[in-house]
Amino acid sequence: MVMSGLFSLVVVTMGLTLAERPRAALVLFTATLILAILTFRYHATDTLAISL
């Protein structure tokens, strides 16, 4: 669900860009990146219990 959500956020970011809403696209991209980093941290530490 989270992964699908990340892809969906990128799609919306692309849509905002095409709709000529650059600021909104940039804000959403930043939010997507933060969520992706948190997801990475969750999976990277969960996989083999190795700390980053």
Binding site: V10, M14, T32, A36, T39
Partner: protein, 202 residues
């Protein structure tokens, strides 16, 4: 006639906005091709993407979003920034996955393609993307010349459409694979549609 400092820069003068736009279109097609190849590996080798693999795909779509930004608004520092952040994030994830399997005797995750695993190819491509973007920034005249957006051609629109479609397809496949829970570390079946591989003609 006003004279700007950039007018005397022989290096930046060698690369105009048209070339930069063409490079952005080519790069967008390259990202689409990489994501298409990932689909092919997924279904031809029955290689379900793990969470880290999916995050690398997310990074590629982020790069596509930056390239679309550049195509829509003209080459901009923001567009290149998005591309660089996406590539840096993807590089971190792929290197992390390489390190997970770096011990001698570890078979790695999934089937190797042309001698390397997906995540190793991804690390190489993210590295190339970062270097290529840096080179384009070095030679890009559009950023300093206030390049205005122009009407996009058919090839550019096709690249944007394909970028959107491949990202949407990834969203759908990630939902089918992971369901409504957290993606398993070693997925063995599609949670919402176990018969999906038999429906794909590879």
């Amino acid at each position: 006639m006003s004279v700007r400092a950039g007018d005397f820069d022989m290096v930046t003068a060698s690369s105009g906005p048209d070339l930069t736009r063409a490079l952005n279109v080519v790069a967008l097609y390259a990202v689409v091709a990489v994501l298409g190849a990932a689909f092919w590996v997924q279904f031809a080798f029955d290689n379900l993407p793990c969470p880290l693999c999916l995050l690398q795909r997310v990074a590629f779509t982020m790069m596509a979003a930056g390239l679309i930004y550049n195509l829509k608004f003209g080459p901009r520092a923001r567009g290149y920034g998005i591309v660089l952040l996406g590539a840096a994030f993807g590089g971190a994830v792929s290197v992390r996955q390489i390190l997970l399997h770096i011990a001698p005797g570890d078979p790695g995750y999934g089937a190797p393609v042309f001698g390397l695993h997906d995540y190793t190819w991804a690390a190489l491509i993210f590295g190339v993307a970062i270097v290529a973007t840096a080179i384009v920034l070095l030679f890009d005249r559009g950023l300093s010349a206030g390049d205005a957006p122009r009407r996009l051609g058919g090839l550019a629109w096709l690249a944007i459409l394909l970028g959107l479609l491949v990202t949407l397809a990834n969203a759908a496949l990630a939902l089918i694979e992971c369901g409504f829970a957290v993606c398993p570390d070693n997925p063995v079946t599609y949670q919402l549609m176990p018969s999906l591989p038999s429906l794909i003609p590879f």
